[in-house]
Amino acid sequence: MISPGVTTRTETTPIDAAQAIDAGQAIDAAQAIDAAEAMGASGAAGSAREPAATGAPATTREPVATGEATPATEDEFLEVRRGPTVRHLLSIADLDREGILEIMRLSDAFAEVAQRPIPKVPALRGRTVATVFMEPSTRTRLSFETAAKRLSADVMTFTAATSAAVKGESLRDTVETIDAMGIDAMVIRHQASGAPLRVTDWIGASVINAGDGTHEHPTQALLDCYTIREALTERRGGEVPADLTGLRIAIVGDIKHSRVARSNVLAFSALGAEVMLVAPPTLMPASLEGWPVTATGDLDGTLGELDVVYLLRIQSERLGEVLLPSLDEYHWRYGLTKARAAALKPEAIVMHPGPMIRGVEIAPEVADLPATLVTRQVRNGVLVRMAVLFHLLGSGVV
């Protein structure tokens, strides 16, 4: 059950071999898209609800047997929810190293599609994707809807502000109603951790977690991995890295309340990167037991060794919870100022999931440096979400 790529993150894959696989897989993916185009045209793309024949990573709610109840290692965390039923993407733990790399290769294929004069393929024609956003998030919703439309899927939009939820309808009734209209995938954003997993109990469609409470935001992590991989590829003159082995990535900020951090820790470490969490103790999770990371409160002491600085948004609500004295003090201690940016290695990159608060976690001048890949993250978000939708709803022939 445990992905070797995740649990033995020091293991490295020879780049040549990986490149060969990568190239081969990319070709397969392109072929699959073409095949899907043909099938889409005949309206016979197969049942979306059939489990993949290829053994692609999937999710099931069935608990996995473990003798020991309290997690002692990352292995046990990653054991949660794996199995062979309807395909969902709820957590990065639903994918292993190969699953993440597969999404990367599919994204490469869709990057090629994006270069075409008409950047649209019929791969998911006849499929319906519903976006259900119980917590407002325009950018993530637009990114998913753009991805679905570029795959020629039909899109239904459901937001809490306009929905029956404001009239007191339960989440269960809401999603069952939408499911009854006949959908193939539900992209769900919810303010409560675990809500998408609960939804898999109630509906037959594939469920994609678009951010749940302070739990996970897997597509953000996938697009971040893709963006880092792309930056490395450029730096190496077009040579695509097998994974992120050897990189030192610091995630800086409100780790405790960050679903992005939880997904990124799993994704970065699954791909072999060394992950460091940087935050004051009040913004760290209560326990890092089982997390494949190191943690520190000292940003300045780590800057010179980093390949990637991943900044998280600081929400002003945290002041009311007495987790920080002031945003100014946070900026003084953890903000990526010009001076701190200058202390980074020349090739280091800066990332942020957005929305970015200039003057708090990042100085305005740094936000506009070429090393800051925020816009590229957003662009790649569409490609990666196309890859995820295709991966879950496509013919499975990849």
């Binding site: 709610r61 608990p63 996995v64 047997a65 473990t66 003798g67 020991e68 109840a69 309290t70 997690p71 965390f77 949660v80 929810r81 339960s170 989440l171 269960r172 919810h190 303010q191 409560a192 951790s193 675990g194 809500a195 997993l197 609960r198 749940d212 409470g213 302070t214 739990h215 996970e216 679903r259 939880r262 999770p285 209560a286 326990s287 890092l288 037991e289 089982g290 997390w291 919870e321």
Partner: protein, 493 residues
């Protein structure tokens, strides 16, 4: 097989073939019940004509169970449970008395509400005793009229669902209560430390991104209250202790001779916070499921006497509320119908016989340590809680019995009046199984294996965390005040 009994408690009952287990020990005997009382206890009893015979072959016959912590939800929460449905669940679980918690709507903080709930209990399938709130509306501001409520038979006061946050008020409550022969009980939770956490703070809450409440939130209030007991001398009972630190604090307090008692729940001795990885709110409870280390400490506390009783914290919630996402769903689990089997499976069945429970995420498999005797188990479920709640006294027996309070109770002297059983009760809970005692009995089959089916429970709610789990040991018959209210696992009314 037993014949079905009639509803007439005056019909003779013979409980045949069982092993009697009570505070005095174990022995093979039949029991003849007549007119609500134990009439004879002998090696072999011929059934008088017209008597109902309950087969107890291979079973334990014990004094009826007593639950110090039941949320019956009435008044105000009838969609989730009523006194009647809760008492039926109690009877099926082997209980012959339950203590109704006061966090109803309105709260049980006045004589009028006490009388209402006692009146509802008069036709119930188990004795319904009532706990009063410590403060009006459980708001933590003003004391309820404790003496007036005590005169109606209320023996235990608690703001359960919340702890009394205000230390000065808690001190005054203990001082005021100390003259009344009552005991104050605390739900230990420092709300500022708990900070609205929905599960135990630790490795799992951190991984799952669910706000946690630290063990310290429980232990800090417990430590404060133990200091207040030391200051005031007033007895206290501590509800649903769940952390290793809390068990150790209560153990030391008892060693110091403080007049304190403590309970733990079946779920805290069987399940740990890994269960929450399912994000299923059926595992949301307050205090939260803790770590497997805490579960081991809770079991150890039961084995060495640091903990006095297992109480269910039976907390029904309507199914749709438990369909809310974890953060938004209410806390609480059903307990009455599974408590004895869960505790027996976790405490009395060795690891080799444990079957597949250990395969379930969150179920902490039985340890390799000491295995509890049946007598100790029934002590935790029957005579010890009966004593804490003052339900051991037999209201209808001779005046001599009233003076013969068992030692070890945290309560002061009993109030006079109607015998402290709230008028509707029968008293005489907790045994021993002797001629003349009230006939409150449980017949338990320790060899029975069963899978919990939440749709078959008598509770109006379905929120049992044990649904689908295989348990060892099942209540076969329950006799309440001489009436066979449960026969072969079926409620008779």
């Amino acid at each position: 097989m037993a014949r079905r009994t009639s509803e007439n408690p005056r019909e003779d009952l013979v409980i045949r073939g069982g092993t009697l287990v009570d505070e005095t020990g174990e022995r093979r005997a039949d029991v003849l019940v007549r007119e609500g009382r134990i009439h004879a206890v002998e090696a072999a009893i011929d059934a008088p004509s017209g008597a109902t015979v309950l087969d107890a072959g291979g079973c334990v016959v014990a004094p009826g169970l007593v639950d110090l912590h039941t949320h019956l939800r009435e008044p105000g929460g009838e969609v989730a449970e009523t006194v009647e449905s809760g008492s039926r669940a109690a009877a099926l679980g082997g209980y012959t008395a339950v203590l109704a918690m006061p966090n109803t709507e309105p709260a049980i903080d006045s004589a009028a509400v006490v009388r209402d709930v006692l009146a509802l209990g008069e036709t119930a399938l188990a004795e319904i005793a009532v706990a009063g709130a410590i403060t009006v509306g459980r708001r933590g501001e003003r004391l309820v009229p404790m003496a007036e409520l005590a005169a109606l038979g209320v023996r235990l006061f608690t703001d359960d669902g919340r702890g009394v946050q205000h230390s000065g008020l808690m001190r005054r409550a203990l001082e005021y209560a100390s003259g009344l022969g009552v005991v104050l009980a605390q739900h230990c939770e420092d709300e500022q430390l708990a900070a609205g956490g929905h599960m135990n703070e630790g490795a799992w809450s951190s991984r799952l991104g669910i706000a946690g409440q630290p063990a310290l939130a429980e232990e800090a209030m417990l430590a404060r209250d133990l200091a207040l007991v030391r200051l005031t001398g007033a007895p206290m009972h501590f509800l649903h202790l769940s952390t290793a630190g809390a068990i150790e604090l209560i153990r030391r307090a008892k060693a110091d001779g403080l007049p304190v008692t403590a309970e733990v729940t079946p779920h805290h001795l069987a399940l740990c916070d890994a269960a929450v990885a399912s994000f299923d709110p059926v595992y949301k409870v307050n205090p939260p499921l803790r770590t497997s280390v805490d579960v081991a400490a809770v079991r150890a506390g039961l084995l060495d006497g640091a903990v006095d009783t297992i109480a269910t914290d039976h907390a029904p919630h309507a199914p749709e509320r438990k369909d809310d996402p974890f953060d938004e769903a209410p806390s609480g689990m059903l307990g009455l119908e599974t408590a004895l089997a869960v505790a027996y499976s976790a405490l009395c069945v060795g690891p080799a016989e444990a079957g597949d429970e250990g395969a379930d995420r969150g179920w902490v498999p039985p340890g390799t340590g000491a295995v509890m005797s049946l007598r100790d188990l029934f002590g935790l479920f029957s005579w010890r809680p009966a004593r804490i709640a003052g339900l051991d006294q037999d209201a209808r027996s001779s005046g001599a019995a009233l003076g013969a309070r068992s030692s070890g109770a945290a309560l002061g002297a009993r109030n006079g009046g109607n015998g402290g059983n709230g008028g509707g009760g029968v008293g005489g809970q907790g045994g021993p199984i002797l001629p003349g005692r009230a006939a409150n009995l449980t017949v338990f089959d320790p060899a029975a294996e069963w899978v919990v089916d939440s749709s078959r429970q008598a509770s109006r709610s379905r929120n049992t965390p044990f649904a689908g789990r295989r348990l060892t040991g099942k209540v076969r018959h329950t006799v309440f005040a001489g009436e066979a209210v449960v026969v072969d696992g079926e409620a008779q009314r």
